[in-house]
């Protein structure tokens, strides 16, 4: 393609968008809403995934001590734990400090559980030598006397991975439906353009313009609608994620968890959204061309 022709196609694409102002606006809006949801969902799923990976790599096992255990029994249990081969370190966390932790994350609502009403257990936090054997160690500890419950990262990670996959599936269906709507709206817009330019198209065909010469402006128009439709949610998601990242990072400081840092995560996400936008635009326009520009 000659450069002159390239610019001509771009110009024609822009002109069409202007000419069908309202239809273009509707199509751009549909793409924007779709991509805002797509982007949010990708952001949520990616972060849950990241959380789950963090948890999986967390090598500690939380051993909840039976409320009936006396101090001596607790000491005895601690000795048993330390004696295990793959245990590196055992620390004690009293029910009071556990409650303080909870209050730290959820706020003063938990004040009413102060003192004797504290429903929590004393806890031994057992660090294992490597993440792979955490599950095995946890199982072993579970069989010991005066152990009320055992909890380790892997279990939570499984739950999170499961949640991620549920969100992904439900989200996938919703996004699929939205993408379909967006493609349909774009293809409708292009169809109107094709109709409004039917004399031009007829003349181009009569004088022997190639099919691709005729098609390019419509493809570009569709891609442009998709692109502009991607820019709006990109800007929104950028500010939104920046804000969330700033706020949540404060809460998470000192834990092993962290949100994915905006750089590079946001760049990747926004680039992805642009690509999706341009693709559905081009697909939408190819769709109407197949029906109205053949032969």
């Amino acid at each position: 393609m000659k450069i002159r022709t390239f610019w001509r196609h771009i110009k024609e694409g822009f002109k069409s968008i202007g000419r069908n102002g309202w239809m273009s606006f509707a199509a751009v809006s549909a793409v924007s809403i779709t991509l805002l949801l797509v982007g949010s969902l990708i952001g949520i799923v990616s972060n849950i995934n990241n959380f789950a990976t963090d948890i999986e790599n967390d090598v500690s096992v939380r051993v909840y001590i039976d409320l009936a255990a006396t101090d001596e029994i607790q000491d005895d249990l601690a000795d048993q734990l330390v004696a295990l081969d793959s245990v590196e370190d055992v620390t004690f966390s009293s029910r009071e400090s556990e409650l303080d932790n909870v209050k730290g994350s959820y706020g003063d609502t938990f004040d009413l559980f102060e003192g004797d009403r504290n429903p929590l257990h004393d806890v031994f936090i057992v660090d294992t030598t490597s993440p792979e054997i955490t599950a095995e160690v946890a199982q072993e500890i579970e069989g010991m006397d005066y152990v009320s419950d055992v909890n380790y990262g892997g279990a939570d990670a499984d739950k999170l991975f499961q949640m991620t996959s549920t969100i992904r599936n439900v989200g996938g269906i919703i996004i699929g439906a939205l993408l379909f709507t967006a493609v349909f709206l774009i293809s409708n817009t292009i169809r109107i353009t094709i109709f409004s330019r039917s004399t031009e198209i007829e003349i181009m065909k009569l004088v022997g313009a190639t099919n691709w010469f005729i098609r390019w402006p419509f493809l570009i128009e569709g891609a442009l609608i998709g692109f502009v439709g991607a820019v709006i949610p990109s800007v929104v998601l950028w500010f939104l994620y920046d804000t969330i990242f700033g706020t949540v990072s404060g809460f998470l400081s000192g834990t092993t968890f962290a949100l994915l840092p905006p750089d590079p995560f946001m760049y990747q996400l926004l680039l992805g959204l642009m690509a999706i936008g341009v693709t559905i635009g081009a697909v939408g326009s190819a769709f109407s061309m197949r029906r109205f520009l053949t032969a």
Partner: protein, 228 residues
């Protein structure tokens, strides 16, 4: 240069517009196509630029085998065949110059080439003074001249004109005929359907009479006579 052998056209609705037609037209000929309405004149001409595919038979136009022509080669055929219609089909938002230039732009000709050639054809049709006007500022005859200029801008070997004077008064029609004959004198084959008896009788050329989808008569220097 154009040859139809045993050509038949049945439209999707079952109407047979052309029956077993055999015609041969040499490069540089001027051929009138006459006959009653619905006889198949337009169908005959549309098959030449492959707007319509024949149902049976073969059609050769220059080097193109119309029946077996690949879709991607259609544009190349169209560059050899200029077409004008009764209703001009001009782009209303473009000036006279732009309308003609448009036909060259879509074939990716250079601006320089376009500038030179458009001026040349506008001069040929006598519209160089009105190059900057819009179609709706022109008379019918002038609009048809723009359409002719556009049809020959890319120097096709054949010019097909389907009732080009159908909407024009006799005086204006004469002007159009002068231009078409001039184009013919430059070597372009002309195939022109018309209902204008005066033109056919005054400016003698080969006449193909089509009746009921068949060639009823084919006469060198013929006149306009057939049973309506």
């Amino acid at each position: 240069m154009i040859e139809l052998k045993n050509v038949k056209k049945v439209y999707d609705n079952g109407i047979t517009a052309v029956h077993n037609m055999n015609v041969r037209i040499e490069q540089g000929e001027f051929v009138y196509v006459v006959g009653p309405s619905g006889a198949g004149k337009s169908t005959f001409m549309r098959m030449i630029y492959r707007e319509v595919l024949p149902t049976e038979g073969t059609i050769q136009v220059a080097d193109f085998d119309i029946v077996n022509l690949k879709r991607k080669d259609i544009p190349h055929l169209r560059r050899q065949v200029g077409v004008v219609f009764q209703d001009f089909k001009l782009l209303q938002t473009l000036t006279v110059f732009e309308n003609v230039a448009y036909a060259m732009e879509v074939l990716e000709k250079s601006p320089k080439q376009i500038e030179v050639r458009v001026k040349e054809v506008l001069k040929l049709v006598g519209l160089e003074q009105k190059a900057k006007m819009l179609p709706n500022e022109l008379s019918g005859g002038e609009q048809q001249r723009v359409a002719i200029a556009r049809a020959i801008a890319n120097m096709p070997r054949v010019l097909i004109a389907d009732e080009p004077t159908g909407n024009l008064d006799p005086e204006t029609s004469k002007g159009i005929m002068n231009i078409i004959e001039q184009i013919n004198q430059q070597g372009t084959t002309i195939i022109m359907a018309t209902h204008n008896a005066d033109i056919v009788n005054e400016r003698k050329h080969r006449v193909l009479v089509i009746e009921d989808g068949r060639i009823a008569r084919d006469e060198e220097q013929g006149g306009y006579n057939f049973e309506d």
